[in-house]
Amino acid sequence: MSPASDSYLERAPLELRDWLVQFLPEPLQWLAHHLITVVAVLAVFGTFFAFTTIAERKLLARLQNRLGPNRSGLPWIKGLKLWGLTQPFADAVKTLTKEDIVPATADKWLHFLAPVIVVAFSLMTFAVLPFGRNMIPVELNAALLYFFAAGAATELAIFMAGWSSRNKYSLLAAMRALAQLISYELPLILSVVPIVLVAGTLSTKAIVLTQGYWTSGFLPHWFVFTPWGLAGFLIFIVAALAESNRSPFDLPEAESELIAGHLTEYSGFKYALFFMAEYFGLTALSALGVTLFLGGWQAPCVFLEFIPSYLWFMLKLIGMIVFFIWVRGTLLRLRIDQLTRLAWKFLVPLALLNVGNAAFWVLSAHWAGPLQLVRWAVSFAVIVIPFVIMGRSLTAGFAPRTYRYAS
């Protein structure tokens, strides 16, 4: 690899780990090695989650010309406000100390298991994400498949939450959430298939490595900078928004209609767990998007490689999250039929087309010279023309709704 991989900053976290491990007796070293990795991931992303919540609140406020939370400071020091940055910790203390209410007729076990499962599985997805050049918790051959498999279990948890609450709102909302998650899992996975096709592997590490080149030193070969990659990225973002129940696809939790959906009967720490899992899911999907489309931990230019890879990754991740927050602050919630129609009549066909587009890209890989231009033009046309045509038919349906009141 490039000399940057030898820089001290690049190696620092790993060396720290090795240094810590060496103090332990031989048989425990293997265990400690992995334990430290897990703890590190948990700590980093736990903190990240905490600050995502405050960032979201502040950003949303600013997007709507408000100030956002800015009060909480440190305890015992009056007047020190720290721009409200300690808000998440105050929230944590609040939720932890709240009463845990379980409905009398609820299925106690499932009611308890649901938040546990949802957090456990959303954390499991972090195992295959390459956070840095040498920082990947588990190197799997079928990493992408693993990611989606682990993500699939959250649907189960949502069902369990909805059903065990013995509440009609909860159950209805859970079914709605399931319908949404299942619908959008398809475009999500389909939008990733072109990457697999072009990179020829399911391993996240290898996918990042294939993006690690530059044209004349500053044009990175990230997949998002190809026609099919851009289309895939957009589909991925839409599907990821829906998969993580974020606005404008936050129907499962629509407070105004479903009184927070499957979470109606959850309070206190269990509610916090769901909340956490949701942000973990968002973070994991954003990280996956970064890994697959935005070059992972690769620097955008050659001369910026001195900045350690994990920082680049974090930077891109934060960028993604900020974008998600921005979208949440902008768009309105969709109706359920619009939601499913968007998935099945627009995203899925487009994603399928995009798979074909990527296949064309692979087949025309040897085209050179002016043919390169043709290749780009064809690839763009294959995705843009259907987008325009299907988009027209899709928006044609979004006319103002005519209500007929009960007579």
Partner: protein, 241 residues
């Protein structure tokens, strides 16, 4: 094309984001306890009782315990008990007064009907909103002492409305005095002419002139000629309607 609207929307919010840092005029919110907000004139919250004098609020309540508001209140949150004795009011006339006047603000829905029906301008809407309490039952039940607020406070919170009310009241007072004189003179003079009762019935009505034509038909329905002079009698048409 699909998506152009989304981009436009994103641009709008991005503008908001940037603008919120250097353009305070954009901000829709204020930092509340530090920066007080100016409430609009017509803002209302829960009712209070108007007393003429701040030094002796209980003694100078305008309320005469007529119990109209108690009967009209839709959620039935007003409790009134009449006094056994009478006290002179601001005009020096002997009136009943509320021995007990309570409002359960946990029930009150701020509809202002009590204000509308009060013939004495004795109950008005307050603007206080920092009324959090620790006891859900006792603290939210306001009694006579808590409700009574001086007329100056009324002027403070609803200046235009209070000025109009005061003007009306003083006009009433003047008219009452003139009428007292007139009746005294009439006792000495010949019996009353035909149009006289109408005049005398209208005169004590404390409504503004604009209200008068509206009141005419009511009078046709329940004509009570010869009545007048007594402020208590004013309750008559209101009750009968």
């Amino acid at each position: 094309m699909l998506g152009s609207g989304i981009i436009k929307g994103l641009a709008v919010t991005a503008k908001n984001f940037v603008g919120s840092y250097y353009d305070p005029a954009r901000m829709t919110t204020v930092e509340y306890p530090e920066q007080p907000t100016v409430l609009p004139e017509n803002y209302r919250n829960f009712p209070f009782l108007v007393s003429e004098n701040a030094t002796d609020p209980m003694g100078t309540l305008r309320c005469v315990a007529c119990q109209i508001c108690e009967k009209e209140c839709p959620p039935q949150c007003i409790i009134i008990e009449k006094s056994k004795d009478k006290k002179p009011d601001a005009n020096g006339k002997m009136q009943l007064y509320p021995a007990v006047f309570g409002i359960d603000t946990s029930v009150c829905m701020s509809c202002q009907i009590c204000v509308e029906v009060c013939p004495f301008d004795a109950i008005k809407m307050d603007k206080v909103f920092e009324i959090a309490a620790t006891d859900r039952f006792l603290d939210l039940y306001l009694n006579r002492e808590q409700l009574a607020k001086p007329n100056t406070y009324y002027h403070q919170i609803h200046p235009e409305e209070a000025a109009e009310v005061d003007g009306r009241l003083t006009a009433d007072r003047k008219a009452a005095e003139e009428k007292a004189k007139a009746t005294a003179a009439a006792k000495a003079a010949a019996p009353v002419a035909a149009p006289k009762p109408a005049d005398s019935a209208v005169a004590p009505k404390p409504a503004s002139p604009a209200v008068k034509p509206q009141d005419e038909p009511r009078r046709l329905v329940s004509p009570k000629p010869g009545e007048g002079g007594s402020p208590l009698g004013e309750g008559g048409p209101a009750k009968s309607s």
